[in-house]
Each structure stands twice: as C-alpha cells, then as structure tokens.
Symmetry: C2
Subunit: 385 residues, 2 copies
C-alpha cells in the first residue's frame, strides 16, 4: 500500500475566541489546497473528523458543511471515534483511494471547545466512555486515566520526576512549533506547585482544551507525481479497538488495542521498530506517552520512563517523540488531533519542520487513541522519493 | 463493482421503551450474524451509523461499543451525515472491501430517541441544519421542509388529496411489515382531522420519531459464494451533497444532490430507470417522496403526484415505492434508516418479503437523504444469481 499526502493545512491550536468551527475548517482546508496546488473542484470526497460539535455547539452534519465552505457537491460525512476521530478519518480517506473510486480526497478535522463551559466540555469528553457504567458514577476522563496511571506507575516504580519529564520535554518541543497552544518551557518546580486534578495527575500532566483544525489531501502516487511537487507516502494505517468500559479489561495497563494496531502496521509496512526515525503519539496525560511507547513495542514494559530521563525521546535523542509538542503542548482539539499528527510528520519528512527539523528522517509513525486506549490507529509514513 | 450482502438484521421499529441503544445494536448485529452463518470473530471491521446518541444520551464512541458487544477488537467507528448516516456507513463498508483490506464487514445503524423529550429530539434533529443561520432563527425541520413543500406543491398545482396519498399508500404497505412502527391504514378523513405541524404538513405527513436498529454484513462475491447461502449484490453506491443552508441554493425544489447521486449510480450500474423493479426512498415528509422520485429521474417534474394517485407506486403498480412502509409507516430511527432500506431490498431480492413480496424483482434502488435533501446516497442492488 502506498498513498500520497500531497497537501497539508493546520491552523494555530489554542483558545481561538474569534473564530468559529467553520472558520477553522475553511482555513485548514484552503491552506491544504494551496499547499497541494489544487482547486476545490478537484476534491472527490471529504472526510470530516469531529467529536464534540453536536453536543457543545448543536451542530452536526459537518461533512456537508465542510463541502459547503468550498462550494463543492462532493460526498462528505463526519467520523467520530472519540480522540481517535481524526485518525479513523485518515484511514477512511485512504480506503476511498485504494478502492479505486476516488483519486483526490480531503481529510479535515476540527474542534471548537472554547464556546462551551469547562463542565460542558468535560461532560462531552465523557461521552467517549460508557454512559451507563462509568459516567453515571461520576467519573471524568482524568479520574479514569488516573486509576490506570497509578497502577502503571506503582508496578514499575516510576517516580514523579520521571513522568513529569514527558510534559517538560513536550513543552520544550512545543517552543519550536509556532502553531502550538503552549510555546513555553515548564519546570519541575512548576509541577511542585501545580494543582492536583486526579491523583497522580496534576494540571501539568494533562493536555489542554484547545480549538483548532487540520487538513490533509491524499491521492494516488501517480497523481502526486503528476503534480511535480514534494509528497510523502502513507504505507500503513491500521486500527483496533478494546473494551470501552475499562473494568471489562483483562489488564488495565496493557494497551491492547495499541499493540494490536502497531503489530498490524509494522507487518503491513514490512518495517522494524528500529526503522522509525520520529513519532507522534497520544500523550493526553503524561504517563500515557510512556505506556503507549511500551505498548507500541519501542521499549520493554517499565523502560520508557528511564529512556525519557536519558533524553532518548528528544529532538537530539535516538527516538524523537512528539516534536510538535504533542497533545500536551501543541494542544488537543479532539477531532483535529489525529490529522495534525500526519501534518506534523509530513512536514518532518519534507524537511519543513523548521526549528524542530530532524536530519533526513525516512520513516515516521503516528499513534492516536480514543477513550482510555480504546480506539487506536497506527499510521506509518515514509519519504520514498 | 459488485459487493455481496450476505446477512441482514433488523429490530422492530417503534417506541421501544424497554430496550437501550446497545440492546438494539446487539440484537441487529446478532441477527445479521445468524443470517449470514458467521461468528463475531469473522468480522474484519464495523461501521456504525448514528446521529443523536451523543446529544440525547451523552453517549459517543459507538463504534468501539458495537465491537464491544460482540467481544471483538476489530476496527470500528461512528459515521454521521444526519438522516443519511446509515447510507454513508454502507458506502464506507463497501470501500473497505473494494480497497482489498477487508473481506467481511458489518454495517450497523441505530437510534434511541424515546429516552429524550420531544423538544430535545427536535433540537437534536436541527443540528443537521445550520446552527447559526436556520436553527438560531427558530426553524425546525418540519418548518424548513414546509417552505420547500409549499413552493413545490404550488408550482405543480398538487392537491392535498394527492400528496396525502403518499402517506396513505405507505401506511397500507406498512401493514405488511411486521417490523414497522405503524401497521395500520390511514384515510383521507384522518388527514382532515390531523393537527397541522407546519403548513402544508400535518402530523400525518411527517414520519414518526422511532427507536430501532438495522445491520447488514457485506463481503466479496467470492466469499459470499463460499458460504453457499443466498446473497444479493450492491452494484452502485454513489453520493453527493448540497448546500446545508437552504437559502444558499439556486433552487429550493430541485433536489440537486439527489439528481447528482442518481446519475452517478445509474452510470456506475450501467442501468436505465426502467430496469429498476422496486425502490425505497426517503419520505420523511409526504411531499418528499414525490420530489425525490422526480429528482431521481423516475418522473418528469410535477408528474409523480398523478402517478401516485394512479397506483403506480403501490405493490401492484409498475414502480413499487416504499413497500416497507417507508419512513412514514416503517419508522425513522435516524441512524438505522439507510441500513434498513438495504435490509428491506435484500429481503425483496431474496424473495423473503412475505406479504409485500414482488414477483422475481431483479434490480432495486435505495435513496436516502440527510437535511433538506443535503447529503444523499443512492444505492442500486441486484439479484444476479
């Protein structure tokens, strides 16, 4: 399988008080079209990722609206899989091309959270969990993940200093990303003063609530070559799901869906872990990055924390992770997140990541998950030209 | 293109007070598996259609939940395109198989509306329109469609008696469908006494608010043949969208997306209108069936009403439409509707439609639309064995 990413668009992420959801969708889509050198009429289909607009804005039917802002009649619909919505939309776009039925597709993700209260946003996020079992007992997402994180941290004797380093690193990376929600460093001293959200997670362990949109345009390699512009390739995009209610799982700390999706993706791409030069992974909470890297197979269980302390996952380390700033510093506008990961890795593979650019990366991996590791997509990109 | 429908499931539609959304999803899925003679572990992916659960039940992430009730880890996500959600899910399932990446996929649609108030349901439905322009001015879906219907009825001088005949016919068909929300006749006298909802639409011109679920299992023809069971084929599934805000359209009464999708579907299937033996179309409001039949190209503009009065669209007519009872009598659990159409036509083509069975139908067409004709999918099925 080889699908070309021929255009990318990405608004700033953050508290975007003066822009509506449709403003953000339009901006990301127009930027991606300009990047690809295409006109709206060349888009065969649009796949839109969003989680919260129906609940928070009373606005569903975003597929048709995303086509509407471009003035086209191409098929379009909305995809939702909690925080993994954007990645399932990418997967759907890939399938449309592989099916032979479309040549150029647009995948757009957007979220507008600032127009609602924090209570409404927290309630909306909990709709990704089980309403009857978990939400009805008063659980919030940080509280559910805190249960998982505590078990994990205690089992592997991971210290506060160690998992705080995930957020510290990602904030440091975010300083090099002009589109990131936070572009400043945080310190261990900040952690000491940070309010507790759900023990062991403080405010600085949690990704922020952000507005934003991202868009990619996909096509066949043949069409990409005909454009005579740089493109990168997606060579695997695999998915799996796990029980939604975490109490139903055999293990709380093995991210089963992550491992299943990663195994399928590496098999599809015919690559080894050592081939991957750069990663974007789902760090909604700082211990999540450690758990995800282990479940993906990059470290043995309990080993990611030490590697993070050693700088392995920084810009200058052997396995750079979340150079965009990750969800923690780049921000987490839910529907946009999975698509933003592909935008970031496309820029890296094109050599356009500015202050965070690596030297000649060839293979990149994106991991995104919705719920407590419930719905997972692993995508592998390559610079093959 | 040829994709096989190898299993179907369909709960009763109606006011299902004692069943939850997940109960309905599980029942439809298990019935489809039994119909196909498959085990859950044989399902490569699930595509779930739903519109209102996030807003009305606080439950998103239905893809993972639908996999969860089967105890499988296969990729799954939710698809939303207002009332066309189910049809876009069918289209996504088809693409997964055409891509060569999956062999057996499940497409499930479900809606649970009775657990919310009628005001909440009406508000949720309006999220399919434009929040900023239409909903914020107080429009409801019947009021928006009433604007369109009045223009259409006046232009072609269609009488009350004529468009009432759509509902009368569909209720008569529904009497033969044991899964229909309404299984009783209505009369012109009932129309005279029906409360006005939005002039010219009375209560009996509007499809009901229903709970229900439907499920189909799709596969390659090769796999279908290996099962040694009856199957039918999908030979086209095409889509288009129109402006969401109806005030932006060049014409209010030309259902542009319907015409675009139909033209593509007939071209893809390489069929003429006269080849089609039976149709299921989106009759959310009784004039809609007339407008849709004309926009699909089965009648010239303004001619469908006379044909309906002449009995052309009944079980014994030359173009039977909505033998299931249509949205009006079968019911309209939004996410399930597009999939239920495919279930109905599969039963017809298999010769299993009992009291409403036609003699040896060969080609069938399903039309579904979300919004005021905004998001449209036209699917053509065939009995080729």
């Amino acid at each position: 399988m080889e699908i070309a990413v021929i255009g990318v668009g990405h608004t700033e992420f953050g508290e975007l008080w003066t822009q509506s959801l449709l403003d953000l969708i339009a901006r990301a889509q127009l930027e991606a079209l300009a990047d690809a050198g295409l006109e709206p009429g060349q888009i065969d289909e649009i796949f839109v990722a969003n989680m919260c607009a129906p609940q928070l804005l009373g606005q569903a039917h975003l597929g048709a609206l995303a086509a509407d802002v471009l003035g086209i009649n191409s098929p379009a619909f909305t995809i939702e899989a909690a925080c993994a919505s954007g990645s399932f939309a990418v997967r759907s776009g890939i399938r449309a091309i592989l099916s032979g039925e479309s040549t150029v597709v647009m995948v757009t993700g957007a979220e507008k959270l600032m127009d609602a209260s924090i209570e409404q946003v927290a309630t909306s996020f909990m709709s990704a969990s089980t309403r009857d079992v978990e939400h009805s007992k008063g659980a919030t997402f940080p509280s559910l993940f805190a249960l998982v994180a505590r078990l994990y941290l205690e089992k592997y004797k991971i210290t506060r200093e160690q998992y705080a380093q995930v957020s510290i690193k990602n904030h440091h990376h975010g300083k090099q990303n002009p589109l990131a929600h936070f572009q400043r460093d945080i310190t261990l001293e900040d952690f000491a003063n940070a309010p507790m959200v759900a023990d062991p997670l403080t405010l600085l362990d949690c990704s922020p609530i952000s507005d934003g949109a991202a868009c990619i345009i996909l096509s066949t390699v043949k069409f990409a070559k005909s454009l005579g512009r740089p493109y990168v390739s997606i060579i695997a995009c695999e998915a799996a799901v796990d029980c939604v209610n975490i109490a139903d799982r055999a293990s709380l700390i093995d991210l089963k869906a992550t491992t299943l999706a990663a195994d399928k993706a590496f098999a599809r791409a015919n690559l080894k872990h050592s081939d991957i030069d750069v990663l974007e992974v789902h760090d909604a909470f700082s211990p999540a990055e450690l758990m995800v890297l282990e479940s993906l197979g990059f470290f043995k269980p309990g080993q990611a924390a030490g590697a993070t302390m050693d700088g392995v996952t920084t810009t200058t380390g052997s396995l750079p992770v979340n150079l965009s700033g990750g969800l923690k510093a780049k921000g987490h506008p839910v529907g946009a997140t999975g698509i933003a990961q592909i935008v970031e890795l496309t820029k890296q593979l094109r050599g356009q990541a500015f202050g965070r650019q690596l030297k000649d990366p060839r293979y990149a991996l994106a991991h995104n998950m919705g719920g407590i590791g419930t719905s997972v997509v692993v995508t592998i990109l390559a610079q093959l030209s």
